[in-house]
């Protein structure tokens, strides 16, 4: 067997590990545009913050490719997939044949048109290690930074660089920060915490134009800056798949075994669209745990396995300046505001007798017990919901369920 993997992040690594658990002999070729050993993308903000370094950012040990007998072509870009003849072509002129192919090409920054953006000399994205290193070179105590986008990437960037610059101002068109994971009630709590740390915000407005070192916003405000970080959003890298004939919606269309619509081509991670198990709807869920699990499902399927990955849900664990938040699922159904105190905010969402989502800010301990209920669609009638809503705890489960968890091997 000749396995070819395009990509070198969570989905690609998940695929390698699954392949090697059932096929020690097949040839694995991994091709990645980035020249680096596999590293954790979400750690780039921690790198600038000084909480990690390039060595510790490695997603797998130095001998990973060697131990798993992977031929890693790093700094090499696939330019075309020839699905008919089962080959990929690279920018170095190589042609590599595959029996099974994984497309794990990830996503890239989306930049909406903004007048005068081309005149901004110090502008950066914040997705890759190279982005972070380029931004780091521009940082300095006299630098004013404008971050466009108050999502996960923009705010983690703000946290990572705040102590190294004069100021950080964040602008977002949405009326609240982290609009994809927090509702209008929860977001101001986190915003207040970020403001107390020193980050300032303009919400409900976007940049109309950049003029010299000033951003003119749609609400009339003028924000001076030296550096601009563009963190508006990301778009899946679907072009290779599309040209190869794979069906593409917002992302590459895959089934629960990560199979695309073209024979012997699989796709996983941020470049795909997946069924959200909490809603049944298809969406792009660009999240690291889901990417790994999808990549792993692809690896299993390539070696004849059939137990796919069908429990993808939106889920985020993130912290800013010591404040932790964990959210999962979706916020449809009945909201149950369990706690709203100085130190903790907790809201659960229940629909059709099942937990479908939650937001925890501050106290996040044992959150996975809630996550698992969402993934497994456990009927709340089978446990003590009053007990569970107060604390995620195994006491809320039936004795039989508990014995299965604690007295049996799994």
């Amino acid at each position: 067997m000749n396995y070819v993997i395009i990509g070198n992040s969570a989905a690609a690594i998940g695929c390698v590990e699954a392949l090697r658990s059932s096929d020690p002999a097949g040839i694995i070729t991994l091709i990645s545009s980035e020249p680096h050993h596999t590293y954790s993308r979400p750690l780039i903000s921690y790198l600038l913050q000084g909480k990690t370094d390039e060595e510790r950012m490695k997603y797998r040990p130095d001998d990973f490719y060697q131990t798993n007998h992977v031929c890693a072509k790093l700094g090499c870009t696939v330019t075309k997939i020839d699905a008919k003849n089962q080959k990929v072509m690279t920018d170095s002129g190589e042609t590599i044949a595959y029996s099974k192919l994984l497309i794990a090409t990830g996503s890239r920054p989306f930049v909406p048109p903004m007048e005068g953006l081309e005149t901004v000399k110090k502008q950066f994205h914040f997705m890759t290690l190279d982005d972070a290193k380029a931004l780091e070179k521009a940082l300095g105590p006299d630098q004013k930074v404008l971050i466009v986008g108050a999502g996960l990437i923009g705010l983690k960037c703000a946290e990572g660089i705040l102590h190294r610059v004069q100021s950080v101002h964040v602008v977002d068109l949405a009326d609240r920060i982290l609009p994809s994971i927090l509702d209008a009630e929860a977001a101001p709590r986190v915003q207040k915490h970020l403001e107390e740390a020193g980050v300032s915000f303009t919400l409900g407005a976007s940049v109309k134009k950049f003029k010299a070192n000033e951003a003119h916003l749609t609400n009339g405000e003028k924000v001076p800056f030296d550096i601009v970080v563009l963190a508006v959003g990301v778009r899946p890298n679907v072009e290779l798949a599309k040209e190869a004939g794979c069906a593409v919606g917002r992302g590459i269309v895959v089934d629960e075994n990560s199979k695309t619509t073209v024979a012997n081509i699989y796709a996983a991670g941020d470049c795909t669209e997946t069924v959200n198990a909490a809603t049944g709807k298809t969406q792009v869920m660009a999240l690291l745990p889901n990417a790994y699990l999808q990549g792993e499902a692809a690896g299993r399927a390539m070696t004849g396995g059939r137990d796919g990955f069908s429990t993808a849900i939106p889920e985020n664990a993130i912290g800013f300046f010591g404040l932790h938040l964990i959210t999962a699922g979706n916020y449809e159904g009945e909201a149950d505001l369990v706690e709203d105190t100085e130190t903790c905010y907790k809201k659960l969402f229940v629909k059709d007798g099942r937990l479908v989502g939650y937001m925890l800010i501050g106290d996040v301990h044992r959150a996975g017990i809630y996550t698992d209920l969402i993934r497994k669609k456990t009927p709340l009638a089978s446990l003590d919901y009053d007990m569970l809503r107060k604390e995620p705890q195994l006491l809320a489960f039936s004795r039989t369920a508990r014995d299965a968890m604690l007295a049996k091997s799994h």
């Binding site: 954790s40 990690t52 792993e296 664990a317």
Partner: protein, 142 residues
Amino acid sequence: MKRIYVNEDWCLGCHLCEYYCTFANSGLESMAYALKGKPLSPRIQVEEEGEIHFAVSCRHCDNPVCVKSCITGALSVEDNVIHCDTNKCVGCYTCIMACPYGCIMPATSGVIQKCELCTNNAHQKPLCVQGCPNEAIVFEER
């Protein structure tokens, strides 16, 4: 592989396992020095209400969703034990979000901590099990 299993009916709710766990992972030789005047920070926790008591610690799952979800690669499986490289961990708590049993917890150092069956300390065998007075937790093959 040997794991820690819970005999719920035998648990007295004495919480000794939590004390032994804190001691085992303190790096100190004396239990008194390890515990006196310090908050407990066990990797095993007793849940209880009324007559029901039981201790919960990492199940060392065959299909560990915490390891697969870990964004840094700090969590890994070594000889069937789920291990955390605290030097790599940044304390994002993705594993806390993922663990279905609520067995991974924040550590006072800012990263996470979890039961590693005492393979990560001087005791090498689970000290909670050795200290349990009623065999409510056992370390065996099942």
